[in-house]
């Protein structure tokens, strides 16, 4: 390992600009002559749009245009789409309703964009938007996914009777029923996985620009995957062909999934830019973002786990209703199906699993992938069932887990996945030691002495990352392949540019990708530039989500580096006047076996470009290689998180007093960055468990629509986090990487709720476990006694 290679805790190259205020986010971009967009949004959850009167707005100072859905349709701008086909049990395709970028005829959720004002300044656009008069015919609305399926519920889209998008299942129902009949113990839980608002601190933004001289559009956009945005806006929305549309994602201030999707506002910014002949900029206000960014989670589940007489799990079954909101967002259909039910085996050898999922429309903001995407929901189901099962059967929860762990790999689960490698006992064992599990009883007694109820909770989670083998996801309904590309451009002086189709929005790719180059080429990371986020620079790529950039993106880079080294060896053979087979490359130097002849990396790079030594021969000048890498399997990061809480039974306040995480991410490129990803994931998972929750009232109004109303973790919600790792190499990619971005968010909610329920002695506790919720749960179950 070189000092900046794989495994080194290198400080991040990108930090210089962020700590000095020189970051370059979409809202920092200003185009010459730009105008500003402000959206008129529906104040009603469900309403017919009878008429829109734009006359008063159109004559306001600075107004350039007021555009509506009717004009969008007239200009033949296509609808937004969901790109993952799911079929129901009966074989019928999912019921995807039309999703125009501006509602046409009907508004389906509060915040549905109805019209847009384009004006010279943001304030003028906003002032004029207030003058747009929309005559609404208010319709009955439904926000609750279970209520949406009931007879007589308001019907949101004609294509989806009963608001049902699909009724999907996975597994062998009959075999599961038989296993349950033979079981000695059955644990049953009703679970609501609360709706979350991702809330990256950078609000979404877009600038559309149209060059009438070339007929070319440019979109600056807060996106996690610029190429997929271009593909969808070109091929489905029909704005322009791909070669006439450039998408640029500059620095992006957090995504967590919410910036994967193709949104109405970016389509409108492009369309409006052409209509008014000026660049059009839109920046979301935070309260607007609550109504316009895809939300996450929102599952209602009944789940049961069956055990035999020794506590071995014999079967699991779950029935889930998943709320997808008013329209199907880009990848929404995959989240409660192939990213959820396929993980219901957890870390356990479960012979039979059956899961049914109904996805439904409601009059709420669309729901799509949010950090973990389906896997946190699955983990919460499995880890709550195991913990509660242990308590019901009087077994130690750590021991019950150990007893049921998968120990042989590869392991085929009954729900599609083939786990390739892992050592679940190793991470559990290490976590138990670090958390001083043996000392917990004493800590509980000590807490009781100062009037607190102390509890401990486990979460031994699994996730499927490295998304994903193209053939596999294609067979499951994905409309795209999920390989990744990398290009390595060696300059004549030996410095290197790498181009990746991944996109960083906090993950530190400019450092970690450079570390791989440094390791392989023996050059300092400062001699490596990582270019991403611009469709005109990078040919194609699938973006960053699902903890895929290390496992898939860096594997592509690794293969491209292999090709670069192979070609550089050919050049070196000419430089060193030796046979190619005798050329060795080590620590940035080319040598000839058995001699002391050598050539430095920079010499060979220069010779590749001046070509004096091989002019006119078969070897081509230049040193630039590309690779497209398609993984052979998902990766399966796993680990053990242990949470300890102290609950004040008088107020219901639950304080997290200790957190231990031991994760197995395979090979770790930069432990400092990986630990940071774990910290952040835990905080979002703790947020879901303790304070976050999007609440709709009966009329479909979002009552948690601002940072004043929607509680996210502050620094004092969390203790210092104890984070450690175990390593089993991932056999499914050349670097042995599994991925780390979502682990914390997947593991944490179950650990927290298991800890609080342990403390208060009742399992009937909903997320978020706010003081009021915990207090009510304690009162309902009768006052627990401390210790």
């Amino acid at each position: 390992m070189s000092g900046t290679g794989i495994g080194a805790a290198v400080r991040r190259k990108e930090d210089q600009r962020f700590i000095t205020g020189k970051g370059h986010y979409t809202d920092d971009v200003n185009r010459p002559g730009q105008a500003y967009a402000y959206f008129v949004r529906s104040p009603h959850a469900h309403a017919a749009i009878k008429s829109i009167d734009v006359k008063a707005a159109a004559v306001m100072s600075g107004v350039l245009a007021v555009l509506t859905g009717a004009e969008l349709a007239k200009d033949k701008i296509g609808n937004l789409i969901c790109g993952w086909m799911i079929h129901s049990k009966d074989g019928s395709p999912m019921k995807m309703a039309a999703h125009p970028a501006l509602a046409n005829g009907k508004a389906c959720h509060v915040g549905d964009p109805i019209a847009v004002v384009i004006a010279a300044t943001p304030a003028q656009a906003r002032d004029a938007a207030e003058k747009v008069k929309v005559d609404y015919g208010v319709l009955p609305a439904v926000a609750d996914p279970v209520a949406a399926q009931k007879p007589g519920a308001p019907q949101i889209h004609d294509v989806a009777p009963g608001n049902t998008i699909y009724q999907w299942s996975l597994g062998d129902a009959k075999a599961v029923d038989a296993a349950f009949k033979s079981a000695k113990h059955v644990t049953k839980l009703d679970i609501v996985n609360n709706r979350l608002v991702p809330n990256a601190i950078e609000p979404r933004a877009a600038i559309g620009e149209y060059d009438s001289g070339t007929g070319t559009f440019t979109l600056w956009n807060t996106t996690q995957n610029p190429h997929v945005a271009r593909l969808v806006i070109a091929a489905f929305v029909g704005m322009a062909p791909e070669h006439k549309l450039r998408v640029i994602a500059p620095d992006v201030g957090g995504g967590f999934g919410s910036k994967i999707f193709i949104y109405p506002e970016e389509v409108v910014a492009l369309w409006a830019a052409k209509k008014v002949g000026q660049p059009v900029k839109w920046v979301a206000e935070r309260s607007e973002a609550f109504l316009a960014d895809a939300h996450g989670r929102d599952h209602v589940t009944h789940a049961e786990m069956a055990f035999d007489g020794e506590g071995k799990i014999v079967a699991l079954r779950a029935k889930t209703v998943a709320n997808l909101g008013a329209y199907m967002s880009t990848f929404s259909s995959s989240v409660p199906t192939y990213l959820y039910a396929t993980l219901l085996s957890g870390q356990y050898e479960i012979p039979q699993i059956y899961c049914e999922v109904d996805a439904v429309y409601t009059n709420t903001v669309p729901v799509d992938a949010y950090r973990g995407a389906g896997r946190p929901e699955a983990t919460f189901v499995v880890e709550r069932l195991v913990e509660v099962g242990a308590r019901e059967m009087g077994q130690d929860p750590a021991e019950l887990r150990r007893k049921n762990f998968i120990k042989q790999f590869p392991h085929q689960t009954p729900v599609i996945m083939t786990y390739d490698a892992g050592d679940y006992n190793a991470s559990l064992k290490k976590a138990l030691e670090l958390a001083d599990y043996k000392g917990f009883a004493k800590r509980k007694r000590d807490a009781a002495r100062h009037g607190k109820l102390r509890g401990i909770g486990f979460s031994t989670y699994i996730e499927a990352c490295g998304i994903a083998p193209s053939q596999a996801v294609g067979s499951l309904g994905a409309g795209v392949g999920l390989w990744e590309s990398a290009e390595v451009r060696v300059n004549p002086t030996g410095s290197v540019e790498i181009l990746t189709g991944c996109h960083a929005h906090g993950q530190g790719h400019e450092t970690t990708f450079a570390q791989l180059v440094s390791e392989r080429l023996g050059i300092p990371i400062d001699n490596v530039a990582v270019l991403h986020g611009d469709t005109e620079v990078v040919q194609f790529g699938m973006g960053t989500y699902g903890s895929r950039s290390g496992a898939v993106g860096m594997s592509a880079l690794s293969k491209a580096l292999d090709k670069v080294v192979a070609k550089a060896k050919k050049v070196a053979a000419h430089v060193l006047e030796a046979a190619e087979a005798d050329i060795e490359f080590k620590d940035g130097k080319f040598g000839v076996a058995g001699t002391d002849k050598s050539a430095a990396w920079g010499d060979v790079a220069l010779n590749a470009y001046i070509a004096h030594k091989f002019s006119g021969q078969e070897l081509e000048p230049g040193l630039k290689e590309t690779s497209f890498y398609d993984p052979t399997n998902f990766t399966f990061p796993a680990g053990c998180h242990i949470c300890e809480v102290e609950v004040d039974s008088e107020t219901g306040a639950a304080e997290i007093v200790a957190w231990t995480a031991v994760d197995d991410f395979g090979v770790v490129v930069n432990p400092m960055i990986v630990e940071g990803q774990v910290h952040g994931g835990i905080a979002q998972g703790v947020g879901q468990a303790l304070c976050e929750g999007a609440v709709y009232d009966k009329a479909g109004q979002l009552v948690t629509g601002s940072f004043m109303d929607y509680c996210m973790p502050r620094a004092d919600h969390l203790p210092p986090l104890k984070v450690d790792m175990t390593v089993t190499r991932c056999p499914s990619n050349p670097l042995g990487i599994k991925g780390c971005g979502e682990a914390g968010a997947i593991a944490a909610p179950a650990a927290v709720i298991n800890a609080i329920t342990d403390a208060i002695g009742t399992e009937n506790l909903a997320m978020p476990a706010t003081p009021a919720t915990v207090w009510a749960a304690i009162r309902k179950s009768g006052l627990p006694r401390a210790a």
């Binding site: 400080r11 991040r12 990108e14 930090d15 600009r17 962020f18 700590i19 000095t20 205020g21 020189k22 970051g23 986010y25 809202d27 920092d28 200003n30 008063a56 004559v59 306001m60 100072s61 300044t121 304030a123 002032d127 809330n199 990256a200 601190i201 950078e202 609000p203 620095d251 992006v252 201030g253 957090g254 967590f256 206000e285 935070r286 309260s287 929005h505 906090g506 993950q507 400092m672 960055i673 630990e675 940071g676 774990v678 910290h679 952040g680 835990i682 905080a683 979002q684 601002s706 940072f707 004043m708 996210m712 973790p713 502050r714 620094a715 004092d716 969390l718 210092p720 986090l721 914390g744």
Partner: protein, 174 residues
């Protein structure tokens, strides 16, 4: 405001990062808008519209304030310091900036300028030896969605110690 009436404008003069600045602004312009849109100092960010997130924290007359919560016109004659002015251009970084890098106290970088400006003010108010609890409580007005705060807390403790003797804490107040 009636249709077609131009917005009222007024002129404000203040000092930003040591330089005198004068701008004619719409009277409803917030300080953060003046900084970002008029002066193109885009290191100060906007993350919310209810003064919770702290991405917009700058120093006014030596004290940290949320620049989304004050009108530009209220700052006639004020001395404003933004993230861009914390260290001299081409000079060494401020110790708190360096501590954020060294301790991986940032990921996407969006909340970072506000965090750093809050942290520098925290040292001014509470000194150079800051315990975990104090830092966490003092960060009530700054939200980070990426880091889980763990490394931000470490960075602020380290930055506070590194600021001892450098005079960096009192720079903005002078």
């Amino acid at each position: 405001m009636a249709a077609n009436t131009p917005a009222a404008t007024a002129t404000v003069s203040l000092t930003v990062n040591g330089k005198p600045v004068s701008a004619a602004v719409d009277t409803r312009t917030l300080l953060v808008q003046l900084l970002r849109e008029e002066l193109r100092l885009t290191g100060t960010h906007v993350g919310c519209d209810t003064s919770q997130c702290g991405a917009c924290v700058v120093h006014v007359n030596g004290r940290a304030i949320k620049s989304c919560t004050v009108l530009a016109l209220q700052l006639e004659g004020a001395d404003v310091l933004t993230i861009e002015g914390l260290a001299a251009p081409d000079g060494p970084l401020h110790p708190m900036q360096e501590a954020f890098r060294e301790n991986h106290g940032l990921q996407c970088g969006y909340c970072t300028p506000g965090m750093i400006m809050t942290a520098v003010d925290l040292v001014r108010r509470k000194g150079h030896e800051l315990d975990d609890r104090t830092i966490r409580e003092e960060l009530e007005g700054n939200i980070c969605r990426c880091t889980g705060y763990h490394n931000i807390v470490k960075a602020i403790a380290a930055g506070a110690r590194a600021m001892r003797g450098t005079g960096a804490a009192s720079k903005a107040a002078e």
